[in-house]
């Protein structure tokens, strides 16, 4: 499972950053990066208001 950020949907609000238990997400100015500490828990993708975090297997 991998988290992909759909840059065309993301509104760089930072909501996902606050819920990531691993601290794997960072909001840099206007884009989101997910680093390799991500454990694929999927929480961020459930809380993104617009569904910009897509889980692919």
């Amino acid at each position: 499972m991998v988290i992909n950020v759909n840059r065309y949907k993301c509104g760089y609000c930072g909501a996902c950053v606050s819920v990531c238990p691993m601290g794997a997400i960072e909001l840099i100015e206007t884009w989101i990066v997910v680093d390799d500490t991500c454990n694929n828990c999927g929480i961020c993708s459930r809380l993104c208001p617009v569904g910009a975090l897509e889980v692919s297997t």
Binding site: G14, S18, V19, G23, I43, R46, P49
Partner: protein
């Protein structure tokens, strides 16, 4: 930019700017950094704030006031409306701000007080020494800088990393984050005198929809949801459903997303050489989602404590406890109450909400406080709201309502 300051404030929202202004105006050498190019933009806010509260800290300026409202109207799932005065609405209504201008005005006040401000500058880590935070690593235009200071103020909002870097767990657990989206809609008919709230598990499960007027024909129309939605549904879908029905002819001129910490207080907001403030300290109200005023209030406290600490040459967590104690005694207490109410309201069915709205029929709610409303509801719906009784235990008086001591409740 110098390589050393008394304090460095990370984040130029209401919390950061207020802390920076408070500290700089009392003689500290302050740097405030903001990772965005433009302070306050994009807005992540419905922009409602209690005007009496805000006036304690900032002189009102028509440049950042979009509308002044008289109160709020809450719509139960069956459409029954409950009207409340401005005071009752607690922290969220009074002024509807223009946050882009407001946030910038607060940053300017900090600058005028003597703080140095740097935009497009992001903190990417902390400097530490002997268990103390001693500065930040900052990124600006592709270059990295080590900047030292005595106290770092983490005012970096919902996406805060400063606390985590210092070993404070600020992760918001699922259920604790209110996931939001909002349109600014124009060419619609709104009542410019009232903020509106719409409840119902169909339109906004574990949350609500708001309509905050920004004039006669414009409003912020948004939604906040605390729980998980089904996998194939987003907050965006729910808002679109509402807007299509309610404002089919409206024109959307802005769209924003955001998350509000609605998790209640966290265990710790200071460590050696570090203070967290505002959304970074999870100080927003879990029930209303309001965080502007708390951020300003806490920023004022943080700035004052930072001044004292630096003048006493003691920036230990122990010294900074004074901030912790102060905000918990006032802001923290309100947050705790709101969390209890929120947790109960999250589990109400539509029928329960209708029953509660019905029980307020013919009551005059113009001048009671939020606590007063909760009390009024509790008294007439004891079975439904029995879980809320703990809130009233230590309270002797509630403004605007007949309050009999909780001990006399059977």
């Amino acid at each position: 930019m110098k390589d050393r300051y008394d304090i460095i404030v990370v984040g130029a929202g209401p919390a950061g700017s207020t802390t920076a202004k408070t500290a700089a105006s009392r003689g500290l050498d302050v740097l405030m950094i903001e990772k965005r190019q433009q302070i306050g933009d994009p807005v992540r806010c419905a922009e409602g704030v209690n005007k009496e509260y805000i006036r304690n800290f900032v002189r009102p300026d028509p440049a950042w006031i979009s509308a002044e409202v008289k109160g709020s109207r809450i719509y139960a799932p069956n459409g029954k409306m409950v009207e409340m005065g401005e005071e009752l609405s607690g922290v969220e209504v009074g002024y509807v701000l223009e946050r882009k201008v407001f946030d910038r005005a607060l940053a300017m006040e900090a600058a005028h007080a003597g703080a140095q401000v740097m935009v497009k500058t992001r903190a990417s880590g902390l400097l530490t020494n002997n268990g103390y935070v001693t500065g930040i690593i900052a990124q600006h235009m592709g270059k990295s800088y080590d900047i030292k200071c005595d106290i770092v103020i983490g005012a970096d909002g919902v996406e805060s990393k400063i606390g985590r870097w210092a070993g404070i767990d600020t992760t918001i657990k699922p259920g604790g984050l209110c996931s939001c989206m909002q349109y600014l809609i124009t060419d619609i008919d709104v009542d410019p005198d009232f903020c509106e709230f719409y409840l119902g598990n169909g339109i906004a499960p574990t949350g609500y929809i708001w309509v905050f007027p920004k004039g006669k024909n414009e409003a912020n129309v948004g939604i906040g949801i605390s729980g998980f939605l089904p996998k194939n549904q987003t907050v965006n879908d729910l808002l679109d459903d509402f807007v299509k029905k309610k404002y089919p002819k409206g024109k959307i001129i802005e769209l924003i997303y955001g998350g509000v910490p609605a998790c209640g207080t966290i265990e710790r907001t200071v460590s050696n050489g570090l203070i967290l403030v505002g959304d970074a300290a999870r100080q927003s109200d879990p029930l209303t989602g309001g965080g502007i005023f708390n951020s300003i209030w806490a920023g004022d406290m943080a700035g004052k404590v930072a001044v004292k600490a630096i003048k006493s040459s003691d920036v230990s967590a122990e010294f900074l406890q004074e901030y912790e104690r102060k905000w918990r005694a006032e802001i923290g207490k309100n947050i705790d109450t709101s969390l209890i109410v929120k947790n109960r309201f999250l589990t109400l069915s539509d029928d329960d909400m209708n029953t509660l709205a019905d029980s307020l029929e013919n009551m005059d709610l113009k001048t009671v406080s939020l606590l007063g409303l909760v009390w009024t509801l509790f008294k007439t719906n004891k079975k439904l709201l029995w879980d809320l009784r703990s809130i009233f235990k230590d309270i002797k008086e509630i403004k605007g309502v007949d309050f009999d001591d909780i001990e006399n409740i059977d």
